[in-house]
């Protein structure tokens, strides 16, 4: 972790803790209860179908190819968090660990 981020230790720790628990909610329990959102209910009633476009994302639906869904979910989360914070560091002009 770069020096710039050291004063954000508490929110960063919270983010990592939430990520560690995320597969319980995002994968295990979601599968058990058959997670679906109101949007899915409405789309089904309208007969809307998702387009079958070529996959553009490296980690579709928060999975990492070849890894179990739970592990992939955490790794996906870490990638997303890292990308967002990297953008913040770049915009801050302090991205070189100062």
């Amino acid at each position: 972790m770069t020096g710039v981020l050291s004063k954000y230790k508490r929110p960063l720790v919270l983010i990592v803790v939430l990520l560690a628990f995320s597969p319980v909610f995002g994968v295990i329990l979601a599968e058990r209860v058959g997670y679906h959102e109101p949007l899915d209910v409405a789309a089904e009633k309208l007969g809307l179908r998702e387009w079958d476009l070529p996959e553009w994302s490296p980690f579709p639906d928060y999975t990492v190819p070849g890894l179990p869904d739970t592990v992939g979910y955490v790794l996906s989360g870490l990638v997303g968090v890292a990308l967002i914070i990297a953008l913040g560091l770049a915009l801050s002009g302090k991205g070189r660990g100062g």
Binding site: L5, L12, I15, S22, A30, A42, S57, G77, L91, G93
Partner: protein
């Protein structure tokens, strides 16, 4: 709430992209003044927190579920301009890296979750605190109502967008009641979470250290 490719009529794809690009153009200058230095890091960590919170689905057995969205929270904490960029970044990463939400529907998802949810949360909170005074009770009430209203209005917008198309004009009479009623119910959880987080952050001495607006 993330609309996938295939759910929107071309008219809506163009209209929602136009609104989103217009909002970007309108807010760009102000945002570039606000999001720099330490504040850029603060904003990005907040956005990362919302990104992770959205991964925590609420498992409601046998029923329709949802996950935290956070647009109202971002609006209350950072105001409508920076709050928009917080949600825009989250949605862009979700769409591009994780295929959560479509490319043709990105404009609509930004409109619903980064514009409507953020503005609803911000103004509901400001209205309640403006009328009732800046007490803990009014902050809790304002942020609860903001979180709830933001989700309901974002759901309403999504319902209109997927249901109202020239090729299928009566779909909206199906999609809007479904979206509004479910989100009015599930939005209670979003409202409670928003109120809890705002209260926590306020208890930490306001958001001056975050560069926010509380």
């Amino acid at each position: 709430m993330h609309i996938p490719d295939g759910f929107l009529d071309p008219t809506w794809i163009i209209a929602t992209y136009a609104v989103t690009l217009g909002y970007l153009a309108l807010t760009w200058r102000r945002a570039s003044e606000l999001i720099k230095g330490d504040r850029a890091i603060t904003v990005s960590i907040f956005a990362a927190g919302i990104f992770v919170a959205q991964m925590l689905n609420w498992p409601l057995p046998g029923g329709t579920s949802l996950h935290f969205v956070g647009g109202a929270l971002a609006g209350i904490v950072f105001g409508p301009v920076v709050g928009f960029y917080v949600m825009f970044i989250v949605l862009a990463v979700q769409t591009l890296v994780f295929h959560d939400g479509g490319l043709t529907t990105f404009g609509a998802n930004v409109l619903n979750m980064a514009i409507i949810d953020v503005l609803a949360g911000y103004y509901a909170y400001r209205l309640v605190v403006g009328i009732a005074g800046n007490s803990r009770r009014s902050r809790l009430l304002g942020s609860f109502l903001g979180g709830w209203l933001g989700i309901v209005l974002a759901g309403l917008a999504a319902g209109v967008e997927i249901g109202l198309s020239p090729s299928f004009p009566y779909g909206v009479t199906v999609s809007v009641p479904v979206m509004v009623s479910w989100h009015a119910l599930l939005g209670i959880i979003e409202g409670l979470a928003t109120a809890f987080i705002v209260d926590y952050l306020y208890g930490k001495g306001g958001l001056a250290a975050w560069g926010g607006r509380l």
